[in-house]
């Protein structure tokens, strides 16, 4: 089983991101469970969503306590929420930011993780460029696919086309493509 925890703020598509990921896994014939952690339904409040992927039926119903991958949609949460709680040592971190881990003051923290499993990317900027809205979930998902190899890029694209109406879908597909390339190049050069 592969477990993902997504952190962000209300309005950033955290929950939709988890759902999209689950649809992508489903498209590949696997079982997936995506669910939110609900706080107040207010724009801007910290929210979490979870996604589990497995080849067999998933029975577990607790929040993801020991994620294999973390997706952080909003860097302003870094000093507000204990984002990295439970992340396994061989875990993946995808962080939405124009800055690197060291520029964000996390150099020491990420030193103990596997370099090629970490990635910061300007997901909001990519989203704004292609979709016109600062919702970073799709680019982050594409980067997730690239870095972890848990889902294929085609599945992400199929999931996008299933979930969004066609005009928006294609814009998101473009955003995903750019993000996927960005992340792939990153992991190749193993550069933080």
């Amino acid at each position: 089983m592969f477990q993902v925890r997504i952190h962000g703020r209300g309005g950033q598509g955290v929950v939709s991101g988890a759902e999209l990921l689950s649809v992508a896994a489903f498209i590949e014939g696997r079982y997936a469970q995506a669910f939110p952690s609900f706080g107040s339904e207010r724009m801007g409040a910290p929210v979490m969503a979870f996604c589990r992927i497995d080849v067999r039926e998933i029975r577990l119903r607790e929040p993801v306590m020991a994620p294999d991958a973390l997706i952080i949609q909003d860097p302003t949460l870094l000093h507000q929420v204990d984002l990295f709680n439970g992340l396994i040592k061989t875990g993946f971190i995808l962080l939405n930011s124009t800055r690197s881990f060291s520029e964000l003051g996390l150099e020491a923290f990420v030193a103990s993780f596997r370099r090629e499993r970490l990635c910061t990317l300007p997901a909001t900027e990519i989203a704004l460029k292609h979709v016109g809205r600062p919702v970073p979930n799709v680019p982050l998902l594409a980067a997730f696919a690239a870095i972890t190899g848990q889902i294929r890029q085609e599945s992400v694209i199929k999931a996008i086309r299933e979930k969004f109406p066609s005009a928006i879908a294609e814009k998101n597909v473009a955003a995903a493509a750019e993000a996927f390339e960005f992340a792939r190049k990153r992991s190749e050069t193993a550069d933080a």
Binding site: S22, P36, R61, E62, P63
Partner: protein, 417 residues
């Protein structure tokens, strides 16, 4: 057809397949997505021959359902928590009148303190109203149970509530198999009411009944639930034959054949329990689990048979009989009448607190070692509790309890579990 979709949406599709004729509901978290889903289908024409009524309260919702059902329409509504309480009078009324209304409960805690997260206190508050209560473990079972519910309700002329954990199931994306219309039509024939308001054949429904006949009327309601004990498995079996999977029934046993310790629970937590059971089995423990699907009627006989060879039973419940302990435990105890085994009640998951593998693992180990209290509150923060008790002992005007505790716990947003 296989789909990856939100639990609420899967249930909405199942409802639509049952050809409901009147749907009425009032919004309350976490059932809203179900009703929104059906409402959209009515509005865009996907679901035809169905009246969708936006009512002004949950009390109105059940009342509209009563009128519609009495006038011969297949009727559906949904609610949770406070909403179920607000319609309580009408809930009893529907059962007393024998109207086959189907209602989804998106299980949520009842306030005060106000809480939008999952536990079973809402359904439990109506356990003796005369409704049949079925609990779903997965979203697949949730959608399947609605199809069985209409059939069950109409055959018995008894209302049925299908209970599914709020947020945990309602808002979770899962893989589900949505049946085809033809199969559902074959399983669920058109509604044939036992009683109907019809000018061509007038009847009086809802007359005053005095001491001379009230007991008999109540007894017949009781008898109906006892009949349901055989009808529920029969309909579940028919469902399995037609749709190819096990859903519903009275109880479901997991690795109980030679189990010394058996965990009993309702709803989605069984999934987590099964994972821990597997783990403990790996290390040689003889442990199993039983999920109760039909809570009303309570499956006394089959539970007795399933538990009688065990040494101990741990009832894990998401509800609390305040001042007493367990609610489900009471039913389990009744089933074990005359049988000697150790029984433990564990109150867990109240107000949406996560029930984790870590906590269950330790809990079951303690149970196996018979080192559990009679009644345990899982993951209770003893420090916070004793601090509050101390505070209250020192002064009179100590302010609202909930607020004091929250202040002590610090910001909630920074916490994960």
């Amino acid at each position: 057809m296989l789909k990856q979709t939100e639990g609420s949406h899967a249930v909405a599709e199942a409802i639509a397949l049952c050809r409901p004729q009147v749907i009425c509901a009032y919004p309350i978290t976490p059932q809203t997505h179900i009703v929104e889903g059906v409402g959209e289908m009515v509005k865009d024409g996907t679901l035809v021959n169905c009246e969708f009524i936006n009512v002004e309260s949950e009390f109105a919702a059940m009342s509209v359902a009563i009128g519609a059902s009495a006038a011969g329409a297949r009727t559906y509504t949904a609610t949770s928590s406070q909403g179920l309480l607000f319609m309580a009078e009408a809930v009893y009324n529907a059962a007393g009148l024998g109207l086959p209304i189907v209602m989804t409960i998106g299980n949520r805690a009842i306030g005060a303190p106000i809480n939008i997260w999952n536990d079973h206190s809402d359904s439990m508050s109506m356990r003796d109203a005369g409704w049949i209560q079925l609990f779903a473990v997965t979203n697949q079972e949730a959608l399947d149970l609605h199809i069985q519910a209409f059939r069950l309700a109409e055959e018995l002329s008894c209302p049925v509530m299908v209970c599914m954990d709020g947020f945990i199931l309602t808002h979770a994306y899962d893989r589900v198999d949505i049946p085809g219309q033809a199969d559902v039509d074959a399983y669920l024939p058109p509604f044939q009411p036992r009683q109907i308001l019809d000018p061509a054949d007038p009847v009086t429904i809802g007359a005053l009944v005095g001491p001379e006949a009230f007991t008999e009327v109540r007894y017949l309601g009781h008898h109906k639930q006892l009949r349901a004990l055989s009808l529920i498995p029969k309909l579940a079996s028919e469902f399995a034959t037609r749709f190819g999977r096990d859903s519903g029934g009275l109880i479901r046993e997991y690795r109980t054949e030679d189990a010394e310790t058996i965990v009993v629970a309702l709803g989605s937590v069984i999934g987590t329990v099964q994972d821990v059971v597997d783990e403990l089995r790996e290390s040689g423990e003889r442990i199993g689990a039983i999920s109760i699907c039909s809570f009303r009627p309570f499956p006394v006989a089959v539970l007795r048979e399933a538990l009688q060879a065990a040494k101990r039973v741990v009832v894990l419940e998401k509800c609390l009989a305040v001042g007493l302990g367990g609610i489900v435990s009471d039913g389990v105890r009744k089933s074990l009448s005359g049988i000697q085994l150790k029984g433990y009640t564990v109150i867990a998951g109240l107000g949406g607190r996560a029930i984790t593998v870590t906590s269950l693992r330790q809990l079951f180990r303690d149970a196996i070692a018979d080192e559990l209290e009679q009644v345990t509150f899982l993951d209770l923060n003893a420090e916070v509790v004793s601090h509050e008790l101390e505070r209250e002992a020192q002064a009179r005007r100590t302010g609202p309890t909930a607020e004091a505790i929250l202040r002590r716990m610090g910001t909630v947003a920074s916490q994960i579990g």
